[in-house]
Amino acid sequence: MAIEITGLKFGYPRQENELVLNIPNWVLGEREGVLIHAPSGAGKSTFLNLLSGLLVAQQGEVRVLGHNLSEMNGYQRDQFRALHIGYVFQQFNLIPYLSAIDNILLANSFSSARQSNPRRNEIPHLLNTLNIARSDWRRPARHLSVGQQQRVAIARALVNKPRFLIADEPTSSLDAENRDRFMSLLMDITTTNDITLVFASHDLSLAPYFKRVESLLDMQTSGAPLDVF
């Protein structure tokens, strides 16, 4: 299993009695892709941050790729994230003053300590696959169009060959044409590279791209999580 969640309860430090998330049981298989549907404010980002180890559950267990995130210390979680998890946001996916290449190299540098063979020579290939024109590789990221930025973001998220990709509303700032291009590229790349994908969005029109679609509200206690499988 790529992700196993049991008895997860989470509230933010200053309002701990107010649970943001309460997921008794949830599982995602390796190489599976899931669209998590949630209206804004439903704890979607919190859920994704718990999966990436940026947040830690006060109660319950979050196992990602077989590792219990709450058992690691902060540094180990950072390393784990750098090595195994790719992240694509709705916006601000790139350091605006660095070029596409430098953004990707930066992401690579956080894990290169553990990797004997940096993947630098694969970067051109990656950028080509994502339809980024060669002339845009060395321009500061802020000069790229939003569509280009989101595609470079995929490249950045994938440079360390993660087994698990988290996408947080990555298409929300794209127009329809760019959104479709982005989605097909993303689905292609995750399938060919055997990457588990958790894709969160409020936009149900993306559902046709996924075999599995879930509502975050349904995953919580009030819903019926057990009948998923």
């Binding site: 933010y12 994230r81 992240y87 996916n93 350091i95 660095l98």
Partner: protein, 414 residues
């Protein structure tokens, strides 16, 4: 990549960063400049006289005596009688005596009447004797030996003639026009007031002051070496004398003897003690300058820190992104510290270059105005340690934005 990120991130905020660098650079120039000039001045100052055990003159304060005997300023309160000189010369404690007679000038430069003992015994710096760049000491009545700075600025060469003026100042009403002196020696540069002094024989001073009636009579013997020792030219008085003792252990004993001299009121001064007293007078100014530059520096560091702090708000999302990429919170701390260090480094390099260029550019001007030869080499252990302190200070003040960045990164994703 880490370094590149820091530099590019600074480059992204060019305006604010350039201003911070400018402020910091100015304060470093002031700090290093003041430190350097102070250091050089102190060194030059303490090097003006050495090997002289006592300075003896009419009763006055030690600082005043030092000022008029060694430095070209201050005024002699009174003269001392020739008999006192002879008395002292016969004393069993005395190794040598250099008589000094002041009061004349040449184009604003001081003329010092003495004997060849001056060139034999006077030393400066680390016991360095005076040496001649060209020519030799005076042998005849109307010979003059000039300091290196005078030769340079007035373009005198060996064999040139010049006249002395009575009193000090570039425009004196009373010139000794009828007694031209001939340059026979030019001293090597010393970096002390000696460079700005003309030396003539004690007897010549006496001779030009005895008036025209007398001058015609003696003029015949003026260029006769033996004339210099003419008994009728023995001076009646002196301004001061430098004393060398046979044994340094006797210094205080001899000082007391001189201070209690019965025939006339005399003061004996230890040059080292007087130099420190004089330097103490300047210490207040010196400390004020140091204090100002330290304050400017601290405010520059705070400025850099405030600049970094204000940009952290804009970098909130950048921090989030870096965290998602797997950057540990400590990375953010180090990144902001590195940015502060880069600003400091650029400012230091810029300041050192500006300082060196201006020291080279102002060298001749300062030498002419103050008589101080400033070296352009500011890479001294003293300034290096200042720069070290500066980096530490900046790192310390940059703790504020770095820690904030660290805490933001730790608090995580919301």
């Amino acid at each position: 990549m880490f370094f590149k990120l820091a530099v590019k991130s600074l480059g992204d905020r060019k305006g604010a960063v350039c201003l911070s660098i400018l402020v910091m650079c100015v304060s470093i120039v002031v700090l290093l400049g003041v430190g350097h000039v102070r250091h050089q001045a102190k060194e030059g100052f303490y090097n003006t006289v050495s090997g002289v055990d006592l300075i003896v003159g009419a009763r006055t304060s030690s600082v005043n005596m030092l000022l008029y005997t060694v430095f070209p300023s201050g005024t002699p309160t009174n003269s001392i009688r020739w008999e006192s000189y002879q008395d002292l010369a016969n004393s069993e404690y005395i190794e040598w005596l250099i008589p000094i007679s002041l009061g004349d000038s040449h184009k604003g430069y001081r003329v010092l009447g003495t004997t060849s003992a001056y060139f034999e015994h006077f030393s400066y710096g680390q016991q360095r004797r005076l040496s001649f760049a060209q020519g030799k000491g005076f042998e005849q009545m109307l010979d003059v030996v000039i300091g290196s700075e005078i030769a340079k600025s007035l373009h005198y060469e060996l064999g040139d003639t010049l006249v002395l003026a009575h009193g000090l100042g570039a425009t004196s009403f009373s010139h000794h026009d009828d007694q031209p002196f001939v340059v026979t020696g030019i001293l090597a540069p010393t970096g002390t007031p000696v460079d700005q002094t003309l030396f003539v024989h004690l007897h010549a001073i006496e001779w030009i002051h005895k008036g025209s009636a007398h001058s015609r009579e003696v003029a015949g013997s003026a260029h006769n070496p033996s004339g210099i020792l003419g008994a009728d030219l023995l001076p009646e008085s002196l301004t001061a004398m430098f004393v060398g003792l046979k044994s340094k252990l006797q210094t205080f004993h001899v000082q007391r003897l001189i201070n209690n001299y019965k025939a006339e009121p005399l003061s004996a001064v230890l040059p080292g003690v007087a130099l420190s007293e004089l330097w103490q007078l300047m210490a207040a100014l010196e400390n004020a300058l140091v204090l100002i530059s330290v304050l400017v520096l601290i405010s520059a560091c705070l400025g850099v820190s405030a600049m970094l702090l204000s940009t952290i708000r804009d970098r909130h999302r950048e921090i989030q992104l870096l965290r998602a990429m797997g950057a540990p919170p400590l990375f953010l701390f180090a990144l902001i510290q590195l940015e502060a260090a880069v600003i400091t480094f650029v400012s230091v390099v810029l300041a050192v270059v500006i300082l060196m260029v201006s020291l080279i550019g102002l060298h001749d001007y300062v030498l002419a105005k103050v008589g101080m030869s400033l070296s352009a080499n500011i890479v001294t252990p003293h300034s290096m340690s200042l720069i070290g302190v500066l980096f530490l200070l900046c790192a310390l003040v940059a703790m504020i934005p770095s820690l904030w960045g660290y805490l933001l990164a730790r608090r995580g994703a919301h």
